[in-house]
Symmetry: C2
Subunit: 241 residues, 2 copies
């Protein structure tokens, strides 16, 4: 299932080996799905990926993801082979189930503070979508990102989790990886300012060099290419296949 | 602080005793705030309540809840007296911090499934708001509630958590307590059907008799009275004070 081809309407449901491995239903350019890939890779948990064409979804998707969402993580080792949805819930499940390379802090207060921070990240993701589909909202985007710049100053560490990447870092990374897409959409008005966001700029450099991030990385050019297609109504899901 | 009076614009910040007790900033009729009260009461954690007038918020609210949201739970025992926001994050924090009367399951899969279920509850809360402010959306409300009816059938227990109320039960209760408000808004078209929702109907009866629910209960008439005021632009926050 690692050919990277996205399965769509009319496709046969893939027959996966009965090896008990987790099954991640994903889309290669979905930032939410990327969160699940990152956590699985950070944990070195072996899994099968099934990529889904989100424009023309396969009829069998409902069997593994009743709301037709990705990411969906199917657990063949559990009774009834249940599936989990919602990227943050999947990520926290994996962190609790697989203790190696722990991502969320153990302290209840620190956990809660990281979750509140991620809740506030929706201001960034909302502004991102507005830029992509309405070509407005850049100011809102920078304002929302500033919350994270300030939080890094407050925490006084290179990563949100300290000296190495953790939960917040991986959960927000997919949008940092896509910063160039904003530049593509807004062209001349795009003005990422490393002086305004020195900690975020540094975080981006550090994460780009992180093995987990590198395990599921697409270049700015690839993201732009994907969005160019999507904007023109001709989404090329298999760009990296 | 238990007089129940809501503090508004121009009010002095209440001076609370330096007793280390948690401080809950709340509004008596806010269903999200009710979640925090229920968990605190379920855990028998002593706390101070400060009720906030949400129409004319006190100037000092920003000090304890920077986004001016309720519920906000301030933790005077922790360094810097931090505040937590977001009802589900507050509830999970309390459940992790205070192990007595555990509410979420310990098993990572069951925890994730309960969280996904609560994520889906937003369809109920969204439909509720639509009914309140646009007088439409009743069909959507029943459709969303049906997910919960079916889940109770699937789980085969009176409560979502088994034989006694737990996390999901207390998190959804505030909206079940307010069912009568829908009847008030929609009048003749309101058609809660206990035959369509036998498990939910039974759950409501059971929860009404639960000591934790009783510790923060308002009657249908009181909720209707509150909403009658709110709809007419004359919100009476202190109805129960």
């Amino acid at each position: 299932m690692s050919s990277g081809k996205h399965l769509g309407k009319g496709s046969s449901k893939p027959v996966l080996p009965d090896d008990g491995k987790l099954r991640l239903f994903s889309m290669r350019f979905c930032p939410y799905a990327e969160r699940a890939h990152l956590v699985l890779n950070a944990k070195k948990v072996p899994y099968h990926t099934v990529y889904i064409n989100l424009t023309e979804k396969p009829e069998w998707l409902v069997e593994v993801s009743p709301l037709l969402k990705v990411p969906a993580l199917q657990l063949p080792g559990e009774k009834g082979e249940p599936s989990l949805i919602e990227s943050l819930i999947i990520a926290e499940y994996l962190d609790e189930k697989y203790p190696q390379n722990p991502l969320l802090p153990k302290d209840p207060l620190k956990r809660a503070e990281d979750k509140i921070l991620l809740e506030r990240f929706s201001a960034v993701t909302n502004a991102f979508m507005k830029i992509l589909f309405q070509s407005t909202g850049l100011d809102d985007y920078w304002l929302a990102l500033e919350i994270f710049e300030k939080e890094l100053v407050k925490r006084g560490t290179p990563f949100f989790s300290g000296d190495r990447p953790g939960f917040v870092d991986y959960m927000i990374w997919p949008w940092l990886e896509r910063l160039a897409v904003i530049g593509f959409i807004l062209e001349d008005s795009y003005n990422f300012d490393a002086k305004r966001f020195p900690r975020i700029a540094k975080l981006i450099d550090l994460l780009k060099a992180d093995d987990v991030v590198k395990s599921f990385y697409a270049t700015p050019e690839q993201h732009i290419e994907f969005w160019r297609g999507r904007k023109s109504g001709n989404t090329n899901y298999d760009l990296l296949a």
